[in-house]
Each structure stands twice: as structure tokens, then as C-alpha cells.
Symmetry: C2
DNA sequence: GATATGTGCTGCATTTTTTGCAACACCAAC
DNA sequence: GTTGGTGTTGCAAAAAATGCAGCACATATC
């Protein structure tokens, strides 16, 4: 919508840090952009940028203005989506910030399934750690977040949550594979592969170990769960993973870690607090919530839908 | 702000019912206005007006668009107010929808008191019955509502409420003036003057009488409390009024109606649910809430602040 | 049934707004 | 000082919005 053009440009300047750079990106001249901003500031009644010798930086007023714009933009999209819906067209665009764990099976299946009924709806998926996911919601960069054990929970509204036990994963021929359930200390006795502290699984392990004698001594620490899943196939090591991303694989075994050692964390579907989502987004969220519900009913066991 | 101009015009057309009328009001030609709307609809992707042979009417999509505009407009004002505040200027504009009862003493004193500290803040007061007040909030026509016994309470968020007993009012020399407290049936035995059914006081009386034998037979039914207050000075009649609008007056007497007959209603300060108010408005609301609090501490007795 | 009055819409000339180009003034680093 | 970066401004060109006049159509009114 053209009436938000000035705000878009303001955002571009704020991001680029200078009028000239932003102008180049937007394919207009610096002078035009400059005057747009001046005109806006005059109309608005207050300057929204600090003029430094090195360029432009938003002042607090500008931050407020930008936030207003983002909310306005998002709400307009919601309205458009709603109108499209009542016109009989189910179209729209859904942006999701999610944990890596849901990438291999859960999320692709959910998206494909939704698109079967509503082929007009498109998606964008951002892989984020739990903190970034909440930031994304707050800045309207993402509509939904599907994350394991979020952190702040301010401005973050839970749509649905399901407890997810942590599993130890290893190659099929690993000694622990003969067991039904394993203890955390047993796992750590082997070489182990763990996520970096940004992630919920790691957080749960850290919390659990605080009151125990065992310590972590990972052979590999990584921010990629895909790497963890594949690494344990190459060395006799133990990895950690939550149920939702696991699926039967003849080479891989996973065993639940005793709840006495490691309480289940929560896989949470959420949105920005107080925001009303576009129709397509809301319906997709409802579908995912149902799927999470079903997951819980099934006992949290790893399985493809 | 100029970027909302198109929305303003759309609103004007919706209200006027025709492009030509709206164009005249806006001091532009019908053709310009027409093209603005066409351009908007094309950009938006859907028509927002029904073209009737008699003029234009918003379709459901248009209603959504208008609602969006009102929300965004209000939010922009909030941002401006907030910026003005952090720039050290306390300025702004507060719009209140209120019951008649608070007009004589309570509200004027509150406004004057606030303006003493913040002379940059201006006010607009709309007298509304309790139902209209809520509509005003919903359509962003008013920022605050101060009403006795609101009706719907959906989309209406209570900021503060204080119980208000109903008083019988009459001339100083009325027989009932010798009593400390009066019964409802006693009042109705005299000629009585009551508000129309739109008002909370009337509603309370109606509810009370449902389970009793007494019936209403008013000599005067009116939507003006000012008229009620003045009428009982001219004829030996009984009127009804809530505490907040009463003040010592040598010619007028008021006596509390027994709570056994008539439970106190609530005087409620509220806003549109989920909306964040401009700084000036929020502070004024806080001041009024404090005053209501003090009113309650004082036992709800009629008195000027 | 003809007329009159209202509606929204459109082609074209005009006005207003926005933009691009070039130059200027300033600052920081080299 | 020179160089490369910044924001800003005068002026002319381009683009967008507007006003005018007239069209086509529907609904009242006589």
C-alpha cells in the first residue's frame, strides 16, 4: 500500500544508517529521500532521526514511529487477508520462526498439509533460536513462533504447548540401544554431542546438572541439530534431541531419558501478544495446535504424522 | 498526517453516502475523490463500496478497512502524544463520553484540576447514554467513558469503578426530607420524576420493582437529569439521582434510598479494550480513577471535591 | 411517458507535488 | 591539504493529483 511508502523508506534509512545508501537500495535519489524525511518530521512535529556526521540514526521518537509502522503494516495485512477470506479466496502468507527440531518432519508436513487445502497460501520459515524467535515476533518479522522452551515470555502469547521429553540418540548398535530408557548420567558417561547454550535442550540439561555431580564434557558442541543427528552415526557418541524431530530410521536409535533426571520441556506455538493474526495465519496456527494436541495424546512418542 | 488522507475521505464518503456530498464537504471535486477511491480499491485488491444508484455504501470489506483506519489513526495519536511527552511537552487532547450525572460538578472539576498542571491538554466531552458511550469507544470517537451502569461490557475495559447509591431528591420542605433514609415504595407514593429507560438509574429501579408490587407512574419521564433536579424544586415531587452529581443546595434535599430496596449501581471509568491510550489521556484517566477511589473512601456521600 | 434531479464515472487541460541533477557545506580520516 | 563520506538545497523536469465539463444511468416527480 502506497500510503506507507514514507514509513518503508524511514525503515530503510534506519537500517542502512544513511540516506544515500537507503536511497540507492530504494532506487531513488538521496535528495528525494531526504526531503521525504524532512517533510515527515515537520508534519509529525518532531525529528525522528539524529544527524551524525557519519549518517542517520533513529532517536527514541523514531523508534516509536517505526514500531507504529510495523504494527500498522501488519494490521493492514490482516485486514486484507480477512477480506480475501470473506471474498471466498483463501490466500495469504504465513511467516514462522521455529526451532530446528521441527524442521525435518513436523513443519514440512504441516505446511504441505495446509497447502493441500489452501494452495493460495505461501509460507516463509525462519530458523531461530528461542530468543531470536521472540524478537522476530515483537518486530513483526514473523507471525508465529514454534519453539522449544522460550525464554522471556513477555509479549509472547502461547497459543498451544505440548510437553516434549528429551531423548538420547545414538547409532542402532550403541550399547544403550538395548535399554528401554536411559539415565542422564549413563549418557554422559559416553562421548556426547550437545547443542550450544542458546537452545532449550541444552538449557534443560544444564539445569538438571546443577544439582548433580556429573559434568558435561562434550566432544562436539554445535548449534545444528542436524549435525547432532548425523554425527552419532559416525562416532559411537550420544546426542540429545526432542521427540518431535525424530523418526524411525534403521541406522538411528533413540531412547527416552528418565524423567527423574530430565523433566520434559515444552514445545510452544506462540504469537505476539495482543495481535490479531491474518486469517490464513490463524487457521494454520489452529491446525498446528491440533497437531500438537494429537502429539500429546500419542504420548509424545517420536513418529511421523 | 497526510498519509491517512485517503482513509479520511473514505470515511467521509461512507458517512455522506455519496461521493459528491463528501467531495463538497472536503472541498475537492467529485472526480478527484472518485478516482482516489478507485485507486485505493485497485491497490487494496477489493472493492470497499457498493455502488447503488442512490450513492455509495460501504461493503463488509470497507467496514473492516474503516475500522483499521480508526485504529491506526488513534495509535498514531498515541505515538505523537508519547513523543511529545518524552520531549518534555505535556500536550494532547482527551475525548470523554460521559453520563449526565458527572456534568455538574465532578467532571468540570476534574478537567480544570488536570489543566492546572497541564495547560497544553485540551478536552472534548460528549454526553452519552451508557450504550452510546460504549459505541463511541468502539469507533474511537471517544478515548474514555465515564458512565453509570454500562450495558454490554464487551470491548469495554474497566479502568476503575465505584459503587454509587441512588438518592431520592426533592425540595427542602418535602415531608421525606425529615427522614434519614427513605424506602423506594415511599418515594413512589409521591409524584415522581424518573429518567427514561436508557439510563442506569431507571434500570436499577425497574429491576427492583420487578419483584415488588409497586409500579411506576411518573408525572415526568425525561432524559435530562438537569431537568429532574430542577423540576422537584417546582412541584412537590420526588426525583432520583446518583450521588456523584449532587451537591449541597439550600433548596434541595436528597436522601439515600435503602439498599434493601435499591442496590447501588456502579459508576465506571472505562476505555476500549486492548487499546493503549495517549499519555495525556492515560494520566487524566489515572487522576479520575484516584478521584473515584477517594469518593468511595468518603462513603459515597454527595459532596463537592 | 416525459422531465428533472440525483448518482458514479471519464477525457483532457491545469495545477500541485515529487523527483532527479548538480552543487554546496560539513565532518572525519588519511 | 586531500579524499571520501555525510546531509542539505536551488532549480528544472517528471509525475501525480485535481478541476472542469460532459457522459451514461437510475430514480424520483409531474
Amino acid at each position: 500500500m502506497r500510503h506507507l511508502q514514507t514509513f518503508r523508506l524511514i525503515e530503510a534509512v534506519a537500517k542502512a544508517g544513511s540516506i544515500r545508501k537507503a536511497a540507492e537500495d530504494a532506487n531513488i535519489t538521496a535528495s528525494a529521500l531526504n526531503r521525504r524525511i524532512q517533510r515527515f518530521e515537520e508534519e509529525f512535529g518532531f525529528p525522528i532521526f539524529e544527524r551524525l556526521s557519519t549518517g542517520m540514526r533513529l532517536n527514541p521518537a523514531g523508534e516509536l514511529v517505526l514500531q507504529h509502522y510495523r504494527g500498522q503494516h501488519s494490521d493492514l495485512q490482516r485486514v486484507q487477508s480477512q477480506v480475501a477470506d470473506l471474498a471466498g479466496v483463501r490466500r495469504g502468507h504465513v511467516t514462522i520462526a521455529c526451532s530446528q527440531a521441527v524442521l525435518p518432519y513436523f513443519l514440512p508436513w504441516q505446511i504441505a498439509h495446509y497447502r493441500q487445502d489452501h494452495p493460495g497460501v505461501t509460507f516463509r520459515v525462519h530458523v531461530r533460536d528461542r530468543e531470536q524467535a521472540e524478537t522476530d515476533l515483537a518486530s513483526f518479522s514473523s507471525d508465529l513462533a514454534l519453539v522449544f522452551e522460550p525464554v522471556h515470555l513477555v509479549d509472547f502469547q502461547i497459543i498451544h504447548q505440548v510437553p516434549q521429553p528429551v531423548y538420547a540418540i545414538f547409532a542402532q548398535d550403541h550399547p544403550l540401544a538395548r535399554r528401554e530408557q536411559v539415565r542422564l548420567s549413563e549418557c554422559l558417561a559416553y562421548d556426547h554431542v550437545i547443542p550450544t547454550p542458546d537452545y532449550g535442550v541444552r538449557n534443560l540439561i544444564d539445569m538438571a546438572l546443577k544439582q548433580r555431580s556429573s559434568r558435561l564434557s562434550p566432544v562436539l558442541e554445535t548449534d545444528s541439530f542436524e549435525l547432532i543427528r548425523h554425527y552419532v552415526l559416525n562416532e559411537r557418541a550420544v546426542g540429545f534431541h526432542i521427540a518431535v524431530g525424530l523418526e524411525a530410521d534403521p541406522r538411528l536409535a533413540f531412547r527416552r531419558i528418565s524423567e527423574r533426571d530430565l523433566p520434559p520441556g515444552n514445545l510452544i506455538l506462540g504469537q505476539k501478544r495482543g495481535r490479531s493474526l491474518p486469517v490464513a495465519t490463524a487457521r494454520f496456527a489452529a491446525q498446528v495446535a491440533d497437531a500438537l494436541e494429537a502429539l500429546e495424546q500419542a504420548g509424545g512418542a517420536p513418529a511421523a504424522p
